[in-house]
């Protein structure tokens, strides 16, 4: 899948279940190769998403600071 076609998960304002849980939910249903972009208004996402992604052997790409939120990019590789 091309970079431009990332699957966007808008988890802004989500205290529960929260951005990481939204990623866990979505990544399981997307095919290998998909880039997922989690939009999060919680600064902690820039730590806990990469931490989990590395633990499960998926690929963490980057975190981009936007206006009032973070865009955390991840690729499903297996």
């Amino acid at each position: 899948m091309a970079e431009g076609e990332a699957k966007v998960i808008d988890a802004r304002g989500s205290y529960c279940p929260g951005p990481l849980m939204e990623l866990i939910r979505a990544i399981q249903t997307e095919p290998v190769g998909t880039v997922l972009e989690v939009l999060s208004s919680d600064r902690a996402s820039s730590n806990d998403i990469p931490e989990w992604v590395k633990k499960v052997g998926q690929e963490y790409l980057e975190t981009v600071a936007e206006d009032g939120y973070w865009r955390v990019r991840v690729r499903r590789v297996k």
Binding site: G13, R25, W52, V56
Partner: protein, 380 residues
């Protein structure tokens, strides 16, 4: 011909919206200018939170249900059947028995369902308390349990985000009551890096776990269950042995949502977070667990959303634009044992801030369990 509103699903959200609407537009309903049809398979409306007590035989299942018809305002037509196909292009819903119901406005309120079949071995190797059948089997297993390793696992997504923590505290208290606690190793697992999605609840739980000798295993997403060897493996690569597995399985949306192509891959309907309209439509509202919103799947969520939808729907039916917006409000009681509870509320803008647990809040929750029937009626 009058305007037709079709409600698919007679759980918390669907029932509140139908009743509010019938009351707001009672005259139109009486004159035949409005028809409200609810399609739902259940003759009985079941209060799901009560399942938490059924497994410990602290509540009998018979106390948790009432006839669906008795909860509906007069004038609402109840079709006791499954919706089989939702055709938003034609604007109609077909039922399993083959009836077709055209609509001007549709409400999708089909909820969520635990899907243990998504994890290999889980259905054979584990118990669940999220369904009546599961809770009754677990009740039997618990009353026969003589000690060993008890593990609680949590799938993503799941409804009622506090239930896994509540059940763990209740298990601890119950095993103590039965004089078995020293023979039980109690482990609670959670998908992310802390004990609960809500950070203050997670922080509060840490010393509680230590004081009660409950082992917390974070970053644990169940991959498979080896029922023969009684062993769990997570996608993070952790293995755990167990004697009694109590799981909150990952959930999916209703089959009809998947089959009709109106949901995403998990069966959740893409929904506007403030309008509660299905994306790309102007006449399909979505309530409760059915939405794809990144908020807690809980009865309280369904309730707050239902108030907004009913108001906007009443306006729309009268030719007005419908001015209410959903703010993401969620409220949850949290049982912290068999005799204490706390609560949290939050919305899209306001973070949660739980109050210290007390007996009074526990009593309030017990009282609400009895008063629940006023909620679907649209009174409380």
């Amino acid at each position: 011909m009058g305007k037709r509103v079709v409600v698919v699903g007679g759980g918390v959200g669907g029932t509140i919206v139908a009743n509010h609407l019938a009351r707001k537009l009672g005259r139109e309903l009486e004159l035949g200018d409005l028809e409200i049809t609810m399609i739902s398979p259940d003759a009985q409306h079941f209060y799901q939170p009560g399942l938490l007590y059924v497994m410990f035989d602290l509540t009998r299942p018979e106390e948790l249900s009432r006839s669906q018809a008795s909860l509906l305002e007069p004038g609402i037509r109840l079709v006791q059947d499954w919706a089989d196909h939702i055709d938003k292009d034609k604007g109609e819903v077909r039922t399993r028995a083959g009836q077709t119901f055209p609509y001007d406005f549709l409400l999708l309120a089909t909820g969520s369902r635990p899907s243990p079949q998504l994890i290999p071995g889980l259905a054979e190797g584990g118990h669940l308390f999220y369904t009546l059948d599961g809770a009754l089997k677990l009740r039997e297993a618990l009353f026969n349990f003589q000690g060993g390793k008890v593990v609680v696992t949590v799938g993503v997504p799941h409804k009622c985000p506090v239930a896994p923590l509540e059940v763990t505290f209740m298990l601890d208290a119950w095993f103590r009551q039965r004089g078995l606690r020293d023979k039980v190793e109690l482990t609670y697992t959670y998908p992310i890096g802390r004990l609960h999605a809500l950070e203050p609840v997670a922080n509060w739980a840490v010393p509680q776990f230590a004081a009660r000798d409950i082992h917390g295993e974070t970053f644990f997403n169940l991959k498979e269950v080896d029922a023969k060897a009684r062993q769990l493996t997570s996608i993070e690569g952790t293995t755990l042995p167990y004697d009694l597995l109590i799981s909150v399985p990952p959930h999916q949306g209703a089959q009809v949502i998947i089959d009709s192509g109106v949901g995403d891959k998990g069966g959740w309907v893409p929904t506007g977070k403030h309008t509660l309209l299905m994306e790309g439509t102007d006449n399909v509202f979505v309530v409760g667990d059915t939405t794809n919103l990144p908020i807690s799947k809980a009865g309280s969520t369904a309730h707050f959303e239902a108030d907004v939808i009913a108001d906007n729907l009443a306006s729309r039916l009268q030719g007005y634009p419908g001015g209410r917006s959903y703010d993401g409000k969620v409220f949850c009681f949290v049982e912290t044992g068999l005799e204490q509870a706390t609560y949290v509320w939050f919305n899209f803008e306001t973070p949660p801030n739980p109050v210290p647990p007390s007996q009074a809040i526990h009593w309030f929750k017990l009282a609400y369990n009895k008063a629940y029937w006023l909620t679907p009626k649209g009174v409380l």
